[in-house]
Subunit: 304 residues, 2 copies
Amino acid sequence: MKCRKCSQKAVIKIYQHNLPLCKEHFLEFEEERVRKAIQDFQMIERKEKLLVVVSGGKDSLSVAYMLKKMGYTVHLLHINLGIGKYSLLSQEKCEKFSSQHSLPLTVISLVEEWGKGIGELAHSTYKSTCSLCGMVKRYYFNKFAYENGFDAVVTGHNLDDMTSALLANILGWRISYMVKQTPVLREEGKLKKKVKPLIYLTERETAAYAFLSSIDYIREECPFSANSTFLKVKHALNEIEKESPGTKFSFYRGLLKNLHLFKEKEKKPLLRECAICGFPTIMEVCSFCKTLRKEEVKKYASHL
Amino acid sequence: MKCRKCSQKAVIKIYQHNLPLCKEHFLEFEEERVRKAIQDFQMIERKEKLLVVVSGGKDSLSVAYMLKKMGYTVHLLHINLGIGKYSLLSQEKCEKFSSQHSLPLTVISLVEEWGKGIGELAHSTYKSTCSLCGMVKRYYFNKFAYENGFDAVVTGHNLDDMTSALLANILGWRISYMVKQTPVLREEGKLKKKVKPLIYLTERETAAYAFLSSIDYIREECPFSANSTFLKVKHALNEIEKESPGTKFSFYRGLLKNLHLFKEKEKKPLLRECAICGFPTIMEVCSFCKTLRKEEVKKYASHL
C-alpha cells in the first residue's frame, strides 16, 4: 500500500476517502481537516485565547498539539477527578505533555475542592457518576474560562463521540440534547464559547494521529466508563461504518443540515444567574450548587 | 420460568415487558397487541375487505391468520417473483396456508406476466434487484386492491422492519422516506389504504407466534436478500435492544410523535395519473411503466 500523495510506504488508509497515506501526509491531512472544520464553522480566530481542556487521552492532547502547531494561544486545563490510579496517571500524562510542548497547565482537583473524588461525590449526592462528572466538568471548564479571560473552551470531541451521542439521542428522541450537538456553541453572557475542532476526525484517526505524533496519552478507559448502552451504540455505528465508510460523517452533516427542523420546536430556555454562584442557569439555583453547595443553598432558602 | 398470568410453564419471555408467558397467554398477548395497534391508529374497520399480501414468511402469514381469527374478511395475494426454488417454495407455503385456513389466494407470477423473474428483469432494466422488487410489489399490491374493490392492503411489517428502515433512513437523513414510515397510509385517489398491524411486534415475537400457531412458513431468506448495510443496521438495533429492552418500541413511537417536524418540511408531492397505466404517479409516466413498459412509453412519446 503506497501513499496516494508521494508513493512512499503508507502507514494508514482512510477508508472514507479510500486514501492510503504515509506518516507525513497523514499528519498533514488530519491537520488540514481540523483547519477546515475550524473554518467551516468559524470556530475560533487567531487572536483568541483558547482554553483546551485535557483529560490526558488521545483526543484532547491531539487537539491541543494541533492548535499550538497552528499558532494559536493555548492554555491547558485538567480536572483531576480523584479516581485513584486512573486520575493519577491522567494528570501525569497532562503534565508531561505540558512540559514537553511548553504549554501552561492548570489542574483543578476535586479532592482538594470537595474532599472527595467523583465516585464518592456521586454516591453522597445520589447522582449517577457519569452525569455528575459531565456536569462538574462543564461547570469548571466554563467558570475557569470566564474568570481567566479565555475566549473559548476547546474540547477534543471526535466524530465517533458526536455520532454515537447523536444516535443514542435519536433512539430516545431527546431533541433538546440533539440541538446542542453542534461544532460551536456561541458565547452567551457568562457562558463562554465552546468549540470542537476534531468533529471531522474519527476515533481511529485521532488515535493514529496521537501515536504518530509521539503524544504519550492514557490508554486506559475510565473505570466508571460510559454506560454500556452508549458503548453498544458506538460499536453499532462502527459496524455500519465498516460496511459503508462515510456513514458517520454524512450522518453528522445531515444533523447540521436539518437542525432547523428541531430548533423551531425547541424553544431556547431563558438563562438567568444562579442565586448562589452567579453563573448561568435556567433555574433559580444551578445544578452544580444544588448538588454540591447544599449548605449554602439551605442558608439562601432560609433568608428568603 | 412461570407464566405471569397462569403460573403454567412459560415458553417465552417478552424482554421489553419482562413478561414470561405460556403458549396460550403468549398468543393471546400478541393478538391483543395487534388489536391495540389497529385501534391506536384506526387502521381498519370490521366491514372492510382486506387484501393481505403474503410472501410465505412468518410475518405475512401470521398477520393473515390473526386477522381471520379476529373476524375480518381476508383475501390473500402472493407475487411469485420467479426466483427459482425459493419462489416455488414461497408459493407452496402460501397455497398450503390458504387451503388450511380456507382463505382465498390469488397468485401473480412475474414470469407469466413478463417472461422473466425479478433477477433477470432487474438485469435487463439496469435496476438493483431489491429496489425493482419493492417497486413491482407495491405496484401490483395497489393495482390488484384497486381493481378488485379491496379497502386496504395489509402487509406484515414488524417493529424490526420499521425501526431498521427508520434507522437506515435517519443515518442518511432521507426525510422523504421517513415520513412514509407510518402504521397507516391513507387512501388517496387510486392509491388504496396501506396498513401494518404488526408494528408493535418484534421479529422474535412474530417468529414465535407463527411457530406456536403451527403456521408452516418459509424459513429461507431471499437469495438476493436485503443489502448488507440494512442487515448491519438490523443487527446493530438488536444489540442495542438486548442491552436496553424497549429501545425499538420507543424509537418508533418517538418517530410518530415527532413526525410533524419532518412533514412540515416535506411538501406532499402532487399526484397525477400515469399516461400509460392510469395509476398515480408524480411524473408523467410512472416508474413501473417507465421500467417495464418501454415499448408503450416509446409509442406514447412518439405521438406527443
